[in-house]
Amino acid sequence: MAYKIAVGSLDGINVDLKFGEVSEFLIYEITDEIRLIEKRKVNSVKADNTNTNSTNNSDNTNTNSTNESNNTNNACTNGSSHNRCCGNGNGCGSQSIIPGVTLIEDCRCVVCKKIGFQAQKQFEKKAITVFDVDTSIDDAITKITAYYAKIDSRKHSHNSI
């Protein structure tokens, strides 16, 4: 089963960036082998690209879940435009977090040095696992893929019974 892993790294060797510091995510694709397939830029202008998405979402190929996320996204940006919507320091994280989260929502998990509570919650909603670890990319990916391989083989054996 192919899946993608998003990694926050500046030097391409260590997981050395916090989630908020990442300017481009390294996207690894795991099939039979592990390949770095993409460097995905985080758009620092917050709501712009998501807004264009949501205007033409009805006849787009977007799935339901992305529609929903766009909607909540709008609600948050609307809210924060006149007031910080959730009342705590970062609002509900709409300013900087949501674009980063949506950007890598096709990945199975995200690996960064640190990931804040609000971002973790957003990933949780999308069933994306968060690994905040201080280690090398190589080590992280090896351990994560070994773990997923075990889970996936178990699922398959269950189905076959």
Partner: protein
């Protein structure tokens, strides 16, 4: 083939956090997923200075499964030592860290030099139930905390009996056993409950004898203490309830600990006189055969199933139907326990079934002819069944939902009277 187990009467080994909690000022530090303590805690009598809702926990999550949770455990222990004032810290491992392979023992050993003792017990759920977990905690104390002593105190005797919290009457029972042992002129030492705690744990190696009152739980602890601390043990399999068993208990302990015969008999006589005075006063109630049921079944762990069966047969003269032992007794202990059920007065023997599945227990009770309405002493699961069979029901084993027990007890002479009161209260209220 996957099997379903219907309403079992035990929890996973991590349930032994309640054994730790029963030791005053001992703190369980859980190396487990978040929510384990919440699910395992009984809401009855478990609040206080430490309670399951505030036990420190590593809250292992997916990240720790992939990358190992050792660092988190280290910081959880270190911070527990800083923030929580306890006398002993007992790290208990749940399933996840043991499946992943985290070396809890190694992490705990880093705290050997801490001001307070830090020990650990492997209590992963797949290793067994909370009866087994209870043994693991006591084992951990023996292995990692206690050291042998040549300074033996005359007459000092350690008593281990019920599994705290799993057994509703644990506190009252252990206190009553203490009182009885004291009357023989011995000095009892127990570690659970009010004002026992670490001081009494420290006394364990100075004892001359160990006394285990339990069919099987704790026998491995006794063997371990005999080997490591050189304390010989007496394994008394039946919790003494009522005059017949309690007198036998006192004679056995007296003989084991070298108490003079006259002393033992004088203690027994005093208790028995009062006991039978009470029984005599209510003889008319006992002889009124419409009141009480002809046959009974006990559905409980081996501890209570054995104790109550022997009491109801030997003291009250009731006839045993099938008895159900629900604690998943280890297979190698079962034959010995069955033998105890066969040594009843009047040449009676009770049929015993080791069964953890409530559905099967209920089917067996339904099928049996009780020659009238049955008397069922069991967990709350039996309440509805007994109502359906129009029988009499008393909740004596886990789960307990229809009574509150602070420190009352069924052990000893007085406990026997309490149990008769409880049973006959149910029986007579039927007619009123």
């Amino acid at each position: 083939m996957a099997k379903l187990l219907d309403r079992q009467r035990y929890k996973c080994a991590l349930g032994a956090m309640q054994t730790v909690q029963a030791i005053e000022r001992a703190l369980p530090v859980l190396n487990s997923g978040p929510g384990c303590a919440q699910k395992l805690s009984d809401s009855t009598g478990s609040s206080g200075y430490f309670s399951p809702n505030i036990f420190p926990c590593t809250s292992i999550n997916e990240k720790d499964v992939v990358f190992g949770g050792v660092k988190k455990l280290d910081s959880t222990i270190a911070n527990s030592l800083k923030v929580i004032d306890a006398d002993m810290y007992v790290v208990l491992t749940g399933c996840i860290p043991e499946i992943v392979g985290d070396d809890t023992g190694e992490v705990v050993s880093r705290f050997n030099d801490a001001d307070k003792p830090v020990i650990y017990a492997p209590t992963a759920g797949f290793k067994g139930n909370n009866y087994k977990g209870h043994e693991q905690v006591i084992d951990a104390i023996i292995d990692q905390y206690l050291t042998p002593s040549d300074d033996k105190q005359d007459g000092l005797i350690n008593i281990f009996a019920d599994v705290p919290y799993q057994d509703l009457f644990w506190l009252g029972n252990i206190r009553e056993l203490e009182r009885l042992i004291k009357e023989l002129g011995l000095t009892p030492n127990t570690i659970f409950g009010y004002r026992r705690g670490i001081d009494n744990i420290n006394k364990i190696p100075h004892a001359k004898y160990n006394l285990l009152v339990s069919p099987w739980v704790g026998i491995n602890n006794m063997k371990k203490m005999e080997k490591k601390l050189g304390i010989p043990y007496l394994h008394y399999k039946t919790l003494p309830i009522g005059a017949t068993e309690t007198s036998r208990f006192l004679r056995t302990v007296g003989e084991f600990a070298g108490v003079s015969n006259e002393k033992v008999e004088s203690v027994i006589k005093e208790h028995e006189d009062y006991y039978y005075y009470l029984i005599e006063r209510y003889a008319d109630l006992f002889l009124e055969n419409r009141v009480i049921n002809k046959q009974f079944s006990v559905v409980a762990d081996a501890h209570y199933a054995l104790a109550i069966t022997r009491f109801l047969v030997n003291d009250l003269g009731l006839v045993p139907a099938k008895q159900f032992i629900t604690d998943d007794t280890p297979k190698n202990m079962r034959d010995d326990i069955v033998k105890e059920f066969n040594k009843l007065n009047y040449g009676l023997a009770a049929d015993v079934s080791f069964e953890t599945d409530t559905y099967k227990i209920h089917e067996a009770i339904r099928e049996h002819d009780y020659h009238g309405y049955p008397l069922i002493l069991g967990g709350y699961y039996e309440k509805e069944l007994t109502e359906e069979l129009k029988g009499n029901f008393l909740n004596i084993s886990w789960p307990v939902q229809d009574k509150v027990v602070f420190d009352s007890f069924y052990a000893g002479y007085a406990g026997g009277i309490r149990l008769i009161e409880d049973i006959y209260t149910v029986a007579v209220s039927r007619f009123n």
